[in-house]
Amino acid sequence: MKISRNWLQTFFDAPLPDAAILGDALTFHVFEIDGIENIGGDDVLDVKITANRGHDCLCHFGIAKELSAILNIPLKKYPHTMPIDELQKRKTTAVSVLIEDPVLCPRYIAGYIKDVKVGPSPDWLKKSLEAIGQRSINNVVDATNYVMFNIGQPLHAFDAGKLTAQAGNYAINIRRAREGEKIIALDEKEYVLSNSMLAIVDVNGAHSQGGEAIGIAGVKGGMPAGITEATTDIIIESANFNGASVRKTAQALKLRTDASTRFEQVISPELAGYGMRAVVELIQKLAGGELVGFVDEYPVPQEGRTVAVSLSRINAVLGTKFGATNVTDVFQHLGLPFSQEGEVFTVTPPFERLDLIIPEDLIEEVGRIIGYDKIPDIELPAPSRPPAVNPNFYAAEKIREELMSQGYSEIFTSVFRDTGERSVQNKIDSDKPYLRNNLQPALAEAWMSNSLWKDLLGIKTVKIFEIGPIWKDGQEVIVVGTAEGERISNMKGSETLKTSEEPLKVNVPVDSYDNLPLSSATRYQSFSKYPYIVRDIAMWTPSGTKADDVLTLIKQNAGALLARCEKFDEFTKGDKTSYAFRLIFQSFERTLTDIEVNAIMEKMTVILKEKGFEIR
């Protein structure tokens, strides 16, 4: 989530340190930072909120609370302590709310304001929203967005004038959508809802049976009741919706919004009260209007809970030697109310900290706020018994070694094929959804393709193997497969492919692993993806001429395109020795042509002739 440094500053009296310091504080004590950007003189941090903190940290207040604890800078305001008894004191009967299923909608508050003046937002508000990548729309809509990004409660404003009143009263129903029910959302697109989705309905609205959908609960508001310049009366929604249900709806409609993202993470229904209180205050400040009153449907209020942990347990899990004051400091700085009895701390988490459930959750708070750099590194004690040898791994290592000593090289191929017995139902690239029931087709393909660059590799024949799982006869089996070429007699240099496959033989376990060699490679060299050209050159040389000297001469004169050169034949007749070399030319940038390679070879021939060699 985008977090503005200027916005954060509104929570503190003391000036905040530089964005880089804020970034480090968050990185090492709570969240990763994806980047810091300067937007119109403000530093904006892109903070990756983890799934366990979506409850309380998808807002500036959440991040401010964390920074307050990490940097030990006191907060000047704490929005969740503002009085909300107004919600009860100023009840109205002008709007009624009916929640059909409290599991899907644990709380719904409607706030009714008359005679607002919709217009542009003041500069500070525009700037705040634009810094975090939001577009300013008008003062009413901006106020709902500001409060959401400030304290995390998604809010929505309906144009009351577009709803249908009955005897001067409005009725809102939160019910499952009818199968196929349609709504045009604020993005001007039509969405077709299903029975698994929750709709906000104007009960007296156009479709007399069941009312008209004016919103997709927790996801997006509807066009029919959207705020415009002409709007005067508004009904504000501050509600709580079931996370899983909102997630499924947003996913099915391919409509993820700032609201749905927050509900998906599950937020406390208690927050809705503070959200309503804050947004009404802001709207009245920006757009005037007269508050008619509130309706608050909250059938099952959130229960409080306590979590206890002892100092010794904290140290036993973290491997630290923290004292009681270390722990009390953390809880105090985080704003976690607690009591202490002996070495046991009992924390009463604030309503928004839905993540604090078990003692380990508190241990994490202590560890991360003090800092994981304070965790020492301690090696495990010597094992009490020698570890068992894994018979499957032992057998695989043994056969791997045997095959390598016979010249086979090891490959891995994909488990996905275009045929097989079992398949996956949802592969992104839908070709090859089957799980292989046989290694040999992939080995054969690998043998064929590798045979194309035998010369480049400097090998006479391709010998490869794979050890891996196949799915056959309802079983997952580890098999060993090989592929190699077999010479065809009477046809010089021609090979036919021979493959084999058998289950990995696992024998009686042994006591210890063999000490097998590791790859001695140090750095990998990327290879050219372009085709190469082969040229052979043979020559008679005077006796005493060393092959290595000729090789050096060739390498010195062949230029940068020579990828490989090897002697492949040698024989002596009388006082002359014949050498034959194979030259491989290849470029990293392009496909070479015969013409340019021929030119190199002609030049080479001249040079070798000058040395007194007789080109054959």
């Binding site: 990185t27 495990l380 390598m404 990998y524």
Partner: protein, 263 residues
């Protein structure tokens, strides 16, 4: 047959163009697993393995991943057609559960120390840094007095052995995984002359880890009031990329000897 280092010397350079059949090449992932097993075996870790085609209980539920967790969505996990509840494992953590279950069934209580190298799957488009099938190595240590400090010490030792000649620093950052609490991201930094320039003095994100969530122990039949421990899961492909300066993760499954023969 018993092999020793003396009799088998690997040639990482090119093979000679001679009549003798030269020794074949090991896949870099196999070499890495061989080496990791050697390092961990010495400090008491057993090599554990388990199925790739797995049930949702071992892949998700037992690991404290709730039913409606985004990771369980269709787009991230390969589900097996016509076999409800079966998936291609999304991590090697399924073997944590299977190992502990089987030990408890045999009446063998902790201490446990295992590593689990193996193939895992994510349903995503492939590019130079992402593959739908890749290799992971899980680590699991359970005992009465295993701490987060032991996790740091264990990983520091592993990387010191793996990047010989370099001095290794380990750093934890807070993170979140359903199967560990507390959860951390582990960064590593290599310092020293012998470290390739691309890696030298840079913090590199290596893996996720943490103290095993009590629910995970409980789900595997281990008493969380008696035992605790740590777990980690690192990407082996990524480790190989760093180790050898490999520029494209897709080479791992390319079966291309222009790649393999360099190892």
């Amino acid at each position: 047959m018993h092999y020793t280092k003396k009799t088998l010397v690997l040639k990482a350079t090119t093979t000679e163009y001679t009549g003798d059949m030269p020794r074949g090449h090991i896949h870099p992932i196999s070499s890495l697993i061989r080496e990791a097993n050697r390092i961990f075996h010495e400090v008491g870790f057993a090599f554990a393995d388990g199925p790739l085609l797995e049930d949702e209980w071992h892949n998700f539920d037992a690991l404290n991943v709730p039913k409606d967790h985004p990771a369980r969505d269709m787009q991230d996990t390969f589900f097996i057609k016509d076999e409800p509840g079966m998936v291609l494992r999304t991590h090697t953590s399924n073997v944590q559960i299977r190992y502990m279950e089987s030990q408890m069934k045999k009446g063998i209580e902790p201490p446990y120390r295992i590593i689990v190298p193996g193939k895992v799957f994510r349903n995503e488009a492939t590019d130079m840094t992402h593959e739908a099938e890749f290799f992971q190595m899980e680590g699991l240590v359970v005992g009465t007095d295993v701490t987060l400090a032991h996790l740091k010490g264990t990983l520091a030792r592993f990387f010191k052995e793996l990047f010989k000649g370099a001095s290794v620093e380990i750093r934890f950052r807070p993170s979140f995984f359903p199967f560990t609490e507390p959860s951390v991201e582990v960064d590593m930094r290599l310092v020293g002359e012998n470290v390739p320039e691309k890696l030298r003095d840079k913090w590199i994100e290596m893996m996720g880890a943490g103290m095993i969530h009590p629910n995970v122990l409980k789900n595997a039949g281990v008493d969380p009031t008696k035992y605790q421990g740590f777990a980690f899961g690192m990407g082996l492909d990524r480790l190989a990329l760093l180790r050898w300066g490999i520029d494209d993760v897709r080479l791992m499954h390319s079966a291309d000897l222009r790649f393999i023969n360099q190892f």
